[in-house]
Amino acid sequence: MIVAEQKTIDEVKTLLADARKVLVIGCGTCVTVCFAGGSREAAILACSLRMASQLEGHARDITDVTVQRQCEWEYLDQAADQIKDAEVILSLGCGVGVQAIAERFPNAWVVPGLNTKFMGLPTEQGVWAERCAACGDCVLGLTGGVCPIARCSKSLLNGPCGGSEGGHCEIDPDTPCGWQLIYDRMEKLGKLELLMDVQPPKNWQKARDGGPRKIVREDLKLHHEE
């Protein structure tokens, strides 16, 4: 899932500036599961902003709504009237959600209420960790299902740097060393020989370095008859 966390209330207030009519819009997918921007968080944030505006003597009309997926226009359309009616849309979707609103509603002023962090999973209650860097050319088949791009701080492809110690990465004792994880798994599975080949430099063109990415599936496109 996409994992995000809320911006501070102060930053949100700055983004809202002196807007009178605010719509907080939550998203029912990833950010609901990571407790950052679902219907519950949207309602709570709307309520806190309302209280703050009352305390500060700056009355705002703040409502909230949550759509099932901000990243698809057909779901956003269900909230079209509220979106068009608001002076500022505070999106609690990920960065994709914010941009979907901006694209679908050219006249809407939309600001982000979240910082989108990474693609990852919950490792325990209340903890989420990064797992995929969307490099566009998956190498997990070489490394036993542990990603050296996302989980090694230096995205090394040929084994651990000299900073690995006691299972953790040199950057911080709370960050597991991705290469220690790869090594342990490959050893357990009897596949260490897969780590002995020298891996060539990665084709970063397939990652973000190649520019904004797009997938076109001709087989799925709707082709209109002439």
Partner: protein, 353 residues
């Protein structure tokens, strides 16, 4: 000012069987026990710092490593510092880390370094930028150290850029080095990782600092079993300890450095006359005397370590890391009986081929 072989195509490099024709390569090729040392460029644009440090290293080593933004702290470029050493008549080994440059910048710098008369390069991963003085920087890691080794040797042996395009003019011909940290985790993988670097083309290896000789012997046993020592020259990292605090710090805080308690005790004992005294109760002279006593013991230990690692089969030399203490190099090399350094100015072979 002499710039040595600056920019001139070096047809000899192939004819005489040498890869790059560097002094270090010749020393190793001739079977001498090699000595390299380290010089940290300044956090300023002052060339005199390099020239002054070079004085301490002159004639007591076969090559001088110029660190590349070590510990992710911005310093004068290793290539610029290396070019100054060429002017001074010393042999530079430029370090190149993967953190700060992509493959375009690296190849461009390699050609520039060669044109400036530099003939050795040590390919490193590089410490993460979170350690240094620009922790908010973006890192690169376009290639890793193994891939960098392959890129540098490919430019020399296949005369191609990393993309596969031919180098039409003079190719940069470097004696290619890599590093290994024998005791970093996962320890069982280290000899294999070393093997990968050698497979990628590493002509010489400089190891992380070794203080624990039995642990190093175990590592070397595995290296010999894999036959790696026959395909590359392994230079063991050694460094004089400056104080018991430094020894403890390295033991506890630097990944991959094992400092036996016995050495920490020896360092502590060296300062025993001042034991129990707090820093603010000591006069300047006392502090200086204590520091001198520690340093003397550190140098003594370093010399002993050199004798011990030299006896380990498969070891081709030592790499002395006297961090911000270049003055210590000469007494260490001299004490270890490694002076004078071989003069390789003569061509290694006079017969025709």
């Amino acid at each position: 000012m002499s710039l040595g072989a600056t920019g001139n195509p070096n047809p000899e490099a192939n004819k005489n069987g040498l890869l790059a024709g560097s002094n270090l390569e010749k020393v190793l090729r001739a079977g001498h026990f090699a000595v390299t040392a380290e010089l940290g460029p300044p956090q300023s644009a002052d060339h005199l710092v390099i020239r002054n440090k070079a004085r301490h290293l002159r004639d007591c080593c076969d090559g001088v490593n110029l660190t590349d933004n070590q510990t992710a702290i911005v310093r004068m470029s290793s290539i610029a510092a290396g070019a100054i050493l060429v002017q001074e008549g010393l042999e530079p080994i430029i370090q190149m880390v993967c953190r700060d440059r992509n493959r375009l910048a690296m190849q461009s710098d390699l050609m520039g370094a060669y044109a400036l008369g530099i003939r050795n390069v040590l390919c490193l991963t590089g410490d993460h930028q979170s350690f240094g003085n620009h922790p908010t920087a973006k890192n690169v890691f376009d290639v890793d150290s193994c891939q960098l080794v392959k890129m540098v040797s490919g430019m020399r042996d296949q005369r191609v850029f990393q993309c596969g395009e031919a180098i039409k003019g003079q190719e940069p011909r470097f004696f290619v080095g890599a590093a290994e940290s024998p005791f970093a985790a996962p320890v069982e993988f280290r000899p294999y990782r070393l093997g990968k670097k050698v497979k990628a083309g590493a002509n010489f290896i400089q190891t992380q600092l070794v203080y624990d000789v039995p642990a190093f012997e175990t590592f070397m046993e595995k290296v010999r079993t894999l036959g790696i020592h026959e395909q590359t020259s392994i230079l063991v990292g050694v460094g004089p300890l400056k104080s018991p605090a430094m020894a403890k710090y390295m033991k506890e805080s630097v990944p991959g450095i094992l400092v036996p308690d016995e050495l920490i005790q020896r360092m502590t004992k060296a300062g025993a006359s001042w034991a129990g005294k707090k820093a603010d109760e000591m006069s300047k002279e006392e502090k200086k005397a204590r520091s001198e006593a520690w340093k003397a013991e550190g140098i003594k230990i370093c010399i002993e370590l050199i004798h011990k690692v030299r006896a380990v089969p498969g070891v081709a030399g030592i790499h002395i890391m006297a961090i911000e203490w270049e003055e210590a190099v000469r007494p260490v090399v001299e004490g270890a009986g490694l002076l004078p350094r071989p003069n390789m100015h003569e061509p290694p072979r006079t017969d025709t081929d």
